[in-house]
Subunit: 213 residues, 2 copies
């Protein structure tokens, strides 16, 4: 059994607080606008102290991404293993939208090459990304074989689309418009995601059940 000293627990807790702040600021402002001074002020420590825990701004972003992937993994483990694959995918999609509406989905720019290469060298991040992608990939293939997802789409395309919906700007636009409840926003975007703008539900089979919530 690993012994964990009290000091180490405190250190852990502080780093958790740092990563939680980074996560929130990334969701609120995005990577390029977020400053390290801001993070330090939000946590309530000096910037130099921050750099004792994380050696660069890019590492802070990586830690926040690892955190959200961990949360996704934890959520996926709560799903009943015997449910139809398409329901697992819908549950994950709904969860990512809830996280985003709660202001807790960190968003990184798609084009910052320095940040991207840093992430591509971040093994904890890559490992978890692979795990999540593999699990989703299995569900995608199974759902296609069951006829619940369009089998003409490469699974890669479905995977990328689900990731993209996790940070879809439409969510934020609809939220600030203030005309719909969070629940309605999510149901509408679930509809456009799985049934498209044309929106014919394949009425015969899954008239889709809302699967609780």
């Amino acid at each position: 059994m690993a012994k964990v000293s009290f000091k180490e627990q405190v250190l852990r807790a502080r780093e958790d607080a740092i990563v939680a702040s980074v996560n929130r600021l990334l969701a609120e402002k995005g990577y390029d606008i977020m400053t390290v001074d801001e993070v330090a002020a939000d946590v309530g420590i000096a910037k130099a102290s921050l750099y004792k825990h994380f050696s660069s701004k890019e590492e802070l972003a990586g830690a926040a991404m690892v955190r959200v992937l961990q949360r996704a993994q934890a959520f996926m483990e709560t799903l009943p293993a015997d449910a139809p694959a398409v329901d697992q995918l819908k549950a994950v999609a709904r969860w990512t939208m809830q996280v985003q509406l709660a202001g807790e989905m960190p968003s990184l720019p798609a084009q910052n090459s320095a940040l991207r290469s840093s992430l591509m060298a971040n093994k904890p991040y890559l490992d978890r990304l692979m795990d999540v992608s593999d699990q989703l990939g299995e569900w995608i293939v199974a759902a296609q074989q069951a006829g619940d997802l369009n089998p003409a789409l490469p699974s890669e395309v479905v995977l990328y689309t689900l990731f993209a919906r996790a940070c879809d700007p439409v969510l934020g636009l609809l939220k600030v418009s203030g005309q719909h409840s969070d629940e309605r926003i999510i149901e509408m975007l679930m509809s456009t995601c799985f049934d498209g703008l044309a929106g014919r539900t394949p009425a015969a089979q899954t008239s889709s059940t809302k699967s609780g919530s």
Copy 2:
């Protein structure tokens, strides 16, 4: 009749060149990473000269957005006025994806508040955005009445979704993967956009028609 001096024509041409450069750099790197020095170097003039034409970086971005909205308007005017509304919408969606794959779709961060307030004070931009939105809005309502778009979706939701697909990161991800031609990428994303990941085409169940095409 407005007289246009030769000097004015040259000035116009230079400003066009500037905005074209900004447009390309915004598509390639995004607003935050793009620097004014880069723009000046790309155009081939000194930075101070650039500021004689546009008084800030934000104005440069606004001019690029006006340019792409003008291109969209020009494209929409080439569409046959008597075609079904859903076909007009699909044509516009396909066009935006082509522009993005060509590396000519400027992308602004969704969260840079300084930039956003600058755009909200940019009348030429707002005017053109309204014009494009109004035309799309008409088509959306018509397509919903014709039963070609899900009438349960507020037209606002459809409009936002179409705008979001114009800068969907999935396009770029699939392009760099290099596994599909540009045409196939666009057809797949058109499918996920209008028919969803489930992908049942409406043809089977509605008694009607596909309305030509």
